[in-house]
């Protein structure tokens, strides 16, 4: 990454961004107060949203929904139309921002390739015309939340999410919905009574709510089904691992370059593996939740390439199959990024996933200066500055803010939130005790390699083991 590329991102917002965010903010305020009784201000905001979508295919749907909601209806179809409208606005924002990245980095990006609709029995676990109880439960809860408003959320309403989560978790196709609802409900639970909070994370909760509503529609999962994926073989060069977690879920998303076996330019891809967990499993113990992904973990810990054969891929997402992967030669991710990243072919996400929060574009930045200010870090290159997302350094790896501050080269993911581009470090080269060391978020994938941290990890005991022992004794009865 060059200073001029930072400048291209930070010099100005894409056209219309502020207007789009204002539309969303109006809806988010209405969701905070609840849709049960829509006041004048919220009615104006909803009407504004409908007006903005008047030239889109959603026009009639949203206009009718807004009329009905202002008149007092909380029916799911109208509430869902609002979620669709909000997602469409953020989809446009996403596209504009990603376009900014692609221009700045001259990154080529393959568009999402839609597939013809699959047969109904492949789309939904329920028979046609009959909604699955898990979806129905999720919809009912999401509608109730919207009608009540975040301010009105109490213990009873939060508890109501429990059965929806449980039902969704039991259906593998609905894992996304289950994980989302569980994460949102845990936050609400921690904030009850919400009415007493001085300020609400209303953008965030509305993001999660509207994505949840989309995932609770019958057709949501169909286009990502494995049955429609293309298949690839080739050499995978891991660049970085991005770790996501909430109380009951963890996901390791590996960003990598794929050199297709048949030749052609390398592809910028991702592969994700995850597990269910509980809140007290944190830190390096997270890696131990993935015993079935030993090739991937070894590739991360040993910084090696992986040969994959005939694995499914949709857009940029390689569906990981550990039994179709074997370890290859060592790869220096910094060298791979330096040589191959500029010419790699990226891919657009699934249309439903078009939201700025999902933007995570791998970049390499070198020769910068780091400065600490206002409790955060900033990198500066040729006089152009980029804030560092230090709060995205994962608990299960060795990368610390101190290492980032001492670094001279960084593999990062470009992120965007609240009007600002951010650099999320996933690997750094830093000078420690006058020696240059490379530190990656995935270094501890096969166990903690730092003596001090290993001791702390051992002292905490094996949470997974203790809980499995308890489960073994108590669940048998």
């Amino acid at each position: 990454m060059r200073g001029t590329q930072i400048a291209a991102l930070t010099a100005g917002h894409p056209a219309g961004l502020t207007d789009a965010l204002n539309l969303v903010e109006g809806l988010d305020a209405a969701l905070t107060r609840g849709l049960a009784r829509v006041g004048d201000e919220d009615a104006a905001a909803l009407a504004g949203l409908a007006g903005a979508l008047a030239t889109t295919p959603l026009a009639n749907l949203v206009a009718e929904a807004v009329d009905k909601i202002i008149a007092g209806s909380g029916a799911h179809e109208y509430v869902a139309a609002l979620a669709g409208a909000r997602s469409a606005v953020f989809g446009a924002v996403h596209d504009a921002l990603l376009g900014q990245v692609d221009v700045a980095f001259e990154r080529s990006r393959a568009p999402w390739a839609p597939v013809p609709p699959a047969a109904p029995d492949e789309v939904s676990p329920a028979a046609p015309g009959e909604m699955s109880p898990a979806l129905a439960g999720a919809r009912a809860w999401l509608s109730e939340v919207a009608v009540t408003g975040w301010r009105g959320v109490n213990h009873e309403l939060v508890a109501g999410a429990g059965s929806a989560v449980e039902a969704a978790l039991a259906v593998p196709e609905l894992r996304r919905l289950a994980v989302l609802l569980d994460g949102l409900a845990a936050e609400l639970r921690a904030c009850v009574p919400v009415a007493r909070m001085p300020q609400l994370p209303q953008r965030r909760w509305a993001d999660l709510w509207s994505r949840g509503v989309l995932l609770a529609q019958e057709t949501a999962a169909g286009d990502t089904a494995l049955s429609v994926a293309e298949r690839v073989s080739g050499r995978l060069l891991p660049l970085a691992v991005d770790v996501h977690e909430h109380d009951t879920a963890v996901q390791f998303q590996v960003h990598a370059l794929l050199e297709p076996a048949g030749g052609g330019p390398p592809r910028l891809v991702r592969t994700a593996v995850g597990a269910a967990k509980v809140d007290s499993i944190v830190g390096p113990a997270l890696w131990r939740l993935l015993p079935a992904q030993s090739v991937l973990l070894a590739a991360l810990a040993q910084r090696r390439g992986v040969l994959v054969s005939d694995v499914p891929i949709r857009g940029a997402d390689v569906y990981w199959q550990d039994d179709r992967a074997r370890l290859d030669e060592p790869v220096d991710p910094f060298a791979a990024a330096r040589v191959l990243l500029p010419g790699a072919l990226a891919a657009a996400p699934h249309p439903v996933d078009r939201h700025p929060a999902g933007i995570a574009e791998p970049v390499l930045i070198e020769g910068y200066a780091v400065s600490a200010q206002e409790g955060g870090l900033t990198v500066e290159l040729d006089g152009h500055r980029l804030a560092v997302a230090v709060d995205r350094l994962p608990s299960c790896g060795p990368l610390t803010p101190e290492l980032v501050a001492a670094s001279t080269a960084c593999l990062g993911l470009l992120r965007w939130d609240a009007g600002q581009w951010l650099l999320q470090p996933v690997a750094v080269q830093a000078t420690v005790k006058r020696k240059i060391v490379a530190v990656h978020t995935g270094d501890w994938a096969c166990g903690v390699t730092d003596a001090k941290a290993a001791k702390a990890d051992a002292k905490a005991g094996d949470a997974v083991l203790v809980l499995r022992e308890r489960a073994g004794r108590l669940l048998r009865r």
């Binding site: 592969t271 509980v278 944190v282 830190g283 929060a357 809980l467």
Partner: protein
């Protein structure tokens, strides 16, 4: 809710709402939670590996109870919270931090309060029997997460939930 005074917080998709649980040893108290208006959890018996105690204290009334999972009352409830409740409160403070536990129980800890047991000591708490079944079934459900199979399908929504280092 550390960033709650930040003017930009409400407009951030990635606003951090809940601090991650802090690591703690799980052998004594495999399960503690702030939920359903109670601080509640499960404490392993010191003498019998097959037995657990279910302990809880209600947030707004400070009514407490402790019993085995078969509803046999704990023998240590002599007019004050038993050692299981104290251990539970201590572990809750380790996991969530004193501030969050105190806020949930709607108490203002004074400067000399550091542990969960000290927090309980400062309450005007009273004993009131309650059923262990509700809490115990939540514990079993909690354990059942460990039986859910792993996934190799991307979960894009987890981008809203970045892993973060525990604030030191």
């Amino acid at each position: 809710m550390a960033d709650v005074d930040d003017a930009g917080w409400a407009g951030r998709s990635m606003a951090r709402v809940v601090a991650p649980a802090r690591p703690r040893k799980l052998a004594k108290v495999p399960f503690v939670e702030l939920a359903e208006g109670r601080l509640q959890g499960v404490v392993s018996s010191g003498s019998d590996v097959g037995r657990v105690y279910v302990s809880s204290i209600t947030a707004n009334t400070h009514a407490y109870h402790c019993s085995t999972n078969n509803n046999r009352p704990c023998g240590g409830l002599g007019g004050a919270p038993c050692k299981h409740l104290q251990t539970l409160a201590n572990e809750a403070v380790l996991q969530y931090g004193l501030e969050r536990v105190a806020r949930y129980l709607r108490v203002e800890p004074d400067a000399s309060t550091n542990t969960g047991a000290e927090l309980l000591h400062g309450l005007n708490a009273r004993h009131e029997p309650s059923s262990a079944a509700v809490v115990f079934s939540r514990f079993l459900r909690y354990l059942s997460y460990l039986e859910v199979p792993g996934s190799t399908t991307p979960l894009p929504e987890l981008h809203w939930f970045p892993s973060t280092r525990v604030a030191s």
